[in-house]
Amino acid sequence: MSRLALTLLLAALALPRAALALGDDGVTTLTLDNGLDVVVIEDHTAPAVTHMVWYRVGAADEPPGQSGIAHFLEHLMFKGTEAMPDGAFSRLIAANGGTENAFTSWDYTAYFQTVAADRLGLMMTHEADRMANLRLSPEDVETERGVILEERAQRTDSDPGALFAEQLRAALFLNHPYGVPIIGWRHEMAELDRAAALDFYRRHYAPNNAILVVAGDVTPETVRALAEETYGQMPVAPDVAPQLRPAEPPHRAERRIVFEDARVARPYVARSYLVPARAPGDQGDAAALLVLAELLGRGGVTDRLGAALQLRDGIALYAGARYNPTARDAATFDIFVMPNEGVTLAEAEAALDRELAALVEAGPDPARLSRIKARLRADRVYDLDRIQSRARQFGVALSTGLSPADIAAWPAAIDAVTAEDVVDAAQRFLDRDAAVTGYLRAPAPQIAEATQ
């Protein structure tokens, strides 16, 4: 019989359900003897459950020359095992009225199903099975390689904006594999084979490198018992250790790129800064950057950039910023400006830099700062309504190295951000030497030779 370390999260757990509005109650964490971390999020509003397994491995852990193997393996995981050959797990899920999917990031690879709550054990049995018993035929690998090449064609090669973003990121990271696209570079994807997929699988897929997140109409006791019977029987992989990844050296020189594509209808300028992500026990900088991104905005006319560049100056069609704070090693802070017709990209960029300087000079409007923080608090209430998105937030945070305590502390970290913190973060992190600025535009029209 295995011993379980059962940790109850948060003092808020003791509160009755009606008081959950702003808390993360109903959350239990535990760890099986073989190292599998388990998170249970109770929500009894519907007789359904979302079951997710997160592996702490992603595209940033790929061997050199094998870009895309983490994502390719994610596809191949649907092929089958000895017990469930030829996609039988997918058919079983469908036959039980469930939905399934999977996704790959630089830091994690996750598989999930949403089913009626009484089918949870069935999902666990077969998800645990494919944790160790994947079976791949050479034909499966050949066919699926065609699928991922088509996926790249559809999502990246057919979209100049996606190609541009890929180039920006590759130019930003000097050494860390975050600069390599998750889907992979096409020439390397074309060479990915069965052996590479199985090597990656054996090296990284094991209970001691995974997190189980179960959210919905379940109790921690049920989940614990089912997890012990299924995942608890899976062998520990001795060589699984946190991957050492190449780290970024100091960035000493601004980078600039120009990407031209005939399919670009409206040109824009984008800048991507290398900035910190949420770090275990230290989320203050990330919270300040998040609030800074919200202040700069997403194209609304009350947002800092929208008010200045769209409304006041008439320079931009859209202007906005984006910061995703949750990553294991580093994050990017991205700003973009799409100029109005008649405004050049250089003029748009200059206007952006004037506005950033003005924000540092004068600081944010205190009333707007408090509105932003209120809106972020309200977003957490709206988010509680979506059990799947809550489960996903836990999976992303835990698989990038944050602890349940960090997750619990994040709302307070955001609430604590002051105007001075925002200015300080802008001064320290919006550093042009640690950034790449890109122009996306159509090539200049060719002057046709007068031969007709």
């Binding site: 469908a94 009626a116 009484d118 065609g146 064609a153 999502r155 209808a265 006319v301 859209y318 509105r371």
Partner: protein, 436 residues
């Protein structure tokens, strides 16, 4: 009067304890509006979903895109507030509004916190009833719509979809995208927008779904306050388009590594007795998941695509059965042949009992999972009313799916599906393909 109907969301799986009951109330307001409500006090907010029938179909023939630009301007100044004032207030209230125009509907969804619900309702009321269409806001949003149209003209998926609807509906308003075209949008005046506003939003064409932290007694006056200022009726609908042209294939050359195909044929309406059987057939042919005929033949067996799907598009008066696929230029011809082959096989009675059983268990099991979130529930409720469903449809729907027999499938497939009627629009540089 408040009619009450308790509807259990039953999974048709043996012995599953059904604890979640979706309790839909019909609420009739003193002002004569009807709404469907699911009261759920678990979180302190409410979701309201409004669907106004008409959408871009009521654009005047020489003003395509008028309703879309009007709808995009509703949150850009209303009553005493200019655009900045409106958006600052929405931000302060943490209210979330969305305004969208489709070919047959203007859809507006809102989420608002209980603590400031009255202020949030007043703000949305002004957007719906007294939008300003200030000149600077009109020019700003017009430029954004034009940029979107310019991008669509370079996007193979958007090109294929626009060309497909143009081929199916010609000069009928369904033939143009909701956004209109650049020439027409550039020429729209504030008067055009005011006319579109009066035509598109009325108490007579709205369908209302509500879910969340509110009871019927509070909801009725709220809705009268929100919508009471709208006119009783709007513009008449344009009437259904003529029957679509025969099947065929058009190729639109575009320099891209991968072709996109949009395809479809006429389907049947949601109130047709055979609709549920058609819906089940669609799941078998090209519905969600990896199990459909098309996914299996194109992706799983041959690796020709990342995804291929079909769906029923219940356009008011002109229902369609549509699909989409992207495949390399070299393989698109093969993909199209396989789609036609599967279409013909199913139309000819090729569905097996095992396929039917799998589709039925999937559809009945997945149905309750759609009710994840109050905004989704509100949207389902307004959509049911717009489609003319009865209030107990949620209760009966799975039983209707379960009752479909293989004989039904074969008969309805023969009635509705026609591989010869399938019309394809391919954008790209597909090898070995010529238009028919």
């Amino acid at each position: 009067m408040i009619a009450r109907l308790v509807i259990a969301l039953g999974l048709l799986l043996a012995a599953l304890p059904v604890r979640a009951a979706l309790d839909i109330e019909e609420v009739t307001t003193p002002g004569g509006l009807t709404a469907w409500l699911v009261e759920d006090r678990s979180l302190p907010f409410v979701a309201i979903d409004l669907r106004f029938s008409g959408g871009s179909a009521i654009d005047p023939p020489d003003r395509p895109g008028a309703v879309n630009l009007m709808t995009a301007l509703l949150e850009e100044g209303a009553g005493t507030r200019d655009a900045s004032g409106f958006q600052a207030e929405a931000e302060a209230l943490a209210a979330r509004f969305q305004f969208r125009t489709r070919r047959d509907t203007v859809a507006i969804s809102a989420r608002m916190l209980t603590e400031n619900r009255a202020e949030s309702v007043a703000l949305l009321r002004d957007a719906l009833t007294v939008p300003r269409f200030d000149a600077d806001a009109v020019e700003r949003v017009r430029a954004q719509v034009l940029a979107g149209l310019a991008q669509d003209a370079q996007d193979p998926e958007a090109q294929a979809s626009d060309a497909f609807f143009a081929a199916m509906f010609g000069d009928h308003p369904y033939g143009h995208p909701p956004e209109g075209n650049a020439t027409a949008v550039a020429a729209l005046t504030a008067d055009d927008l005011r006319a579109a506003h009066a035509a598109a939003l009325s108490r007579g064409n709205v369908h209302i779904g509500v879910a969340g932290d509110i009871g019927a007694e509070e909801l009725a006056p709220l809705l009268d306050a929100l919508l009471g200022g709208l006119p009783a009726t709007g513009a008449p609908l344009p009437g259904p388009p003529p029957a679509p042209p025969p099947g065929g294939l058009a190729v639109m050359p575009f320099d891209t590594p991968q072709s996109v195909a949009v395809f479809g044929q006429a389907a049947i309406a949601e109130d047709d007795p055979d609709f549920i059987a058609t819906f089940v057939i669609n799941q078998i042919v090209g519905g969600s998941g990896f199990e459909s005929r098309l996914m299996s033949e194109l992706r799983e067996k041959r690796g020709l695509t990342y995804g291929v799907y079909s769906w029923l598009a219940p356009l008011d008066g002109a229902p369609l059965w549509m699909g989409q696929v992207a495949s390399s230029n070299a393989t698109m011809a093969q993909a199209v042949d396989l789609i036609r082959e599967q279409w013909a096989d199913v139309a000819g009675g090729g569905v097996s009992q095992a396929e039917l059983d799998a589709a039925k268990t999937y559809l009945t099991g997945a149905y309750p999972l759609r009710f994840d979130g109050k905004d989704r529930i509100a949207s389902i409720l307004s959509g049911m009313q717009q489609s003319g469903r009865p209030i107990d449809y949620v209760l009966d729907r799975n039983a209707m799916v379960a009752a479909v027999t293989l004989d039904d499938i074969r008969r309805v497939a023969g009635r509705v599906m026609d591989a010869e009627a399938l019309r394809f629009v391919v954008v790209g540089q597909p090898a070995d393909m010529v238009g028919q």
